[in-house]
């Protein structure tokens, strides 16, 4: 029993030391591996913004009255509509939307002011380009809000509303989408980098024939696997710290919870993705194949992990799949700690699941490795 542990992990220390040497010998790959996720964080972090602002709008004001101008002012004041161009015919308005110059159009008819005075009900046409559903939904609700506000102001001249909803958003008060998306992005970027690096490291040995030599030594499969995981785990952990720093400093995402807890709960996730990378490396014959398989893990992690779409809204089979994706749990941990200040009491389940997944992945990888040489 005493000798079991060293036997099971035989060769761990030399493999680990050698792997560190490989990493420092190849600074190009190292810099590339570390810089790329940060670069992507910048790109995607700035690009992904679901808050709709300044939608290009074309205006056809056929009324040309004080009333119509007041209405347009309140549209412009909403921050959602940006009144970019003014046209004089309906055809020109449709053309502007079709060509993509504008995503919304506001048409105020000739009789707008008159009907407003008469009290016969004035109509304003708001055209919305539905090709982007998020934009469409938010523009329509804003337009309705503007109309409602204008109407109420006419009915209640003193401006006091009988009922007023005062929404108060907890945890992300400005509803900044960066706060929501960037923590999830951390998980995705970390996963891609880690899986790719460790998978390539083992496949490279197979391609170059060094694995054939190594297999003839007393190195135990687990010694080889864990020996490779430690250096890449350290690398990924450093990368995580860098990504979190960028998230905090550049994207100004406040961390409400304990950063140390976040780092600690990242370890089970790293364990899982490292194990996943090793599993890929036992299946892939070439580096190109390993690259493709690693990339194949991205889409499920993006779409089925709750990173973009709510898991609760998915069809049931997809909900089950989402429970098998490590990123699902890590994104919960990230959002929990970063946005809501959640603690261990709230997140222990996720931590346990990831730890179990990680250990299973490593054992499975070791088993697949032994099988693959038969």
């Amino acid at each position: 029993m005493k000798a079991l542990f060293p036997t099971l992990f035989r060769g761990l220390v030399p493999v680990c030391r050698k792997e560190f040497l490989h990493i420092v010998r190849d600074p190009g790959t190292l810099v590339f591996a570390l810089a790329l996720p940060i670069l992507q964080l910048f790109l995607f972090g700035f690009a992904v913004d679901t808050n709709i602002r300044q939608v290009a709008t074309v205006v056809l004001d056929q009324s040309q009255t004080q009333e119509s101008r007041r209405l347009l002012e309140s549209f412009a004041g909403s921050d959602v509509f940006a009144l970019r161009s003014y046209v004089t015919s309906p055809d020109a308005m449709y053309e502007a939307i079709r060509s993509g110059k504008a995503r919304a159009g506001i048409r105020i008819p000739y009789d707008y002011a008159r009907r407003l005075q008469d009290g016969t009900g004035a109509t304003v046409l708001v055209l919305v380009d539905g090709s982007d559903s998020t934009v469409a939904a938010q523009t329509i609700s804003t337009a309705t809000g503007v109309a409602l506000q204008q109407s109420l102001l006419r009915v209640l001249p003193d401006g006091t509303m009988p009922v007023e909803v005062r929404p108060s958003v907890l945890y992300n008060p400005a509803t900044r989408s960066a706060n929501f998306f960037v923590p999830g992005l951390v998980a995705i970027l970390l996963q891609v980098m880690t899986i790719l690096l460790i998978a390539l490291s083992l496949v490279r040995e197979r391609e170059r024939g060094t694995l054939e030599q190594l297999e003839m030594t007393p190195v135990a499969p687990l010694g080889l696997m864990v020996g490779k995981m430690i250096p890449y785990g350290v690398l990924a952990f450093g990368e995580l710290c860098a990504i979190l720093a960028v998230m905090r400093v550049v994207f100004l995402v406040p961390v409400h919870g304990n950063v140390l807890l976040l780092l600690a709960l990242s370890l089970p996730f790293l364990l899982t993705v490292l194990g996943l990378g090793l599993m890929i490396s036992t299946k892939a014959k070439t580096q190109a194949e390993a690259f493709q398989l690693s990339m194949g893990t991205i889409l499920p992690s993006v779409f089925l992990s709750g990173y973009i779409f709510l898991i609760e809204n998915m069809p049931l089979p997809f909900q089950w799949i989402s429970h098998l994706i490590p990123a699902t749990y890590y994104i919960r941990i990230l959002r929990g700690i970063v946005l809501r200040g959640a603690g261990m009491a709230d997140l222990w389940r996720e931590a346990v699941i990831l730890t179990v997944m990680g250990c299973a992945a490593i054992l499975l990888a070791a088993r697949m490795f032994v099988k693959s040489r038969q």
Partner: protein
């Protein structure tokens, strides 16, 4: 004499394919055993099985008395292996490669230092210790590979085509090393395609289509009845322009096989038709000879190909 490597009716199958078919052989302590055969005939597979990396489908094998099925992990601690492809890390230095293998074989710091010193002395690689392995020449790479393969002072070393693609001087140097180690009692199992290397080996085995078809000393193989079929004589035909004559000799009745050897032709001819051969080539000098090792293997291979037809 103690048997170091024993294979007893070893058969290894991958699905429908039989890679090693009923192979039995014994290699004694301190022997250099040469293992020959065409590519894909099962040489590497047999080595992997003997090192405990592949479980045999049938039969048994023992290395240093340990069962290859049960004691695979233990066997690998006492066995050295050098693959046909350079299997070391080109981005690491010579010293780092040696240190890595010392660690992998579980040598403690003191022993590792001792052994590093010893293999340095043996292989003469000391001046290159700080150089990246990738920058070494082919011959030095092989010496480094040998240094790593014997860092744990194994009793048995398997060399899989150790001299493929290196120059004759480096080849000679490597063989000198093997003889030196074999003198110290290390047993070698060497696969090769080079006949001159095979002739240096104490005993030779020839594997063809997964079957071991001949085994013995070079002299034993040369006298093998299958290699010298009854009623035939192996002759050397010394003639001007041997290359141009080859087709003519091959086309003659009673000539079973013929090939060029330097400036002459080696042929296996039916003894009672030697007269016709002499009459056909009056100016040539025709003499009976012993078959070379290559002749033996070619003859055996042809016989199996004939039988398979």
């Amino acid at each position: 004499m103690t048997a170091i490597i024993e294979a007893d009716h070893l058969t290894i199958r991958f699905g429908q394919v039989t890679a090693v078919n009923d192979v039995s052989l014994t290699v004694e302590k301190g022997e250099i055993f040469g293992f020959l055969g065409p590519n894909g005939s099962g040489k590497t597979t047999l080595i992997k099985a003997l090192c405990g990396l592949l479980a045999p489908s049938e039969g048994t094998g023992r290395i240093l008395g340990m069962d290859i099925r049960k004691d695979a992990a233990e066997i690998r601690r006492h066995v050295g292996y050098m693959s046909q492809k350079f299997g070391l890390y080109e981005d690491l230095t010579v010293a780092e490669n040696i240190a890595f293998y010392a660690g992998v074989y579980g040598l403690d710091a003191k022993r590792a230092e001792e052994r590093t010193h010893e293999v340095q002395k043996l292989t003469g690689i000391a001046p290159y210790m700080k150089r990246r392995a990738g920058q070494l020449s082919g011959g030095w790479k092989q010496r480094l590979a040998l240094a790593c393969a014997i860092i744990h002072s194994p009793e048995v070393v398997f060399l899989d085509e150790p001299t493929a693609g290196i120059d004759p001087v480096a080849r000679r140097a490597l063989w000198d090393l093997l003889f030196q180690l074999s003198g110290q009692g290390v047993t070698f199992f060497v696969t090769t395609h080079y006949m001159d290397e095979a002739e240096r080996c104490g005993r030779v085995g020839y594997i063809y289509l997964s079957k071991l078809i001949a085994i013995g000393t070079v002299a034993e193989l040369q006298r093998l009845p299958e290699a010298n079929p009854a009623g035939t004589t192996r002759v050397e035909i010394e003639t001007a322009n041997a290359a141009a004559m080859l087709d003519r000799v091959r086309g003659m009745e009673g000539v079973r096989e013929a090939t060029i050897f330097g400036r002459s032709i080696h042929a296996l001819a039916e003894t009672d038709r030697l007269g016709e051969l002499r009459a056909e080539l009056p100016q040539a000098r025709i003499e009976a000879i012993e078959p070379s090792l290559e002749d033996v293997f070619v003859t055996l291979t042809y016989q199996i190909m004939e039988a398979a037809r």
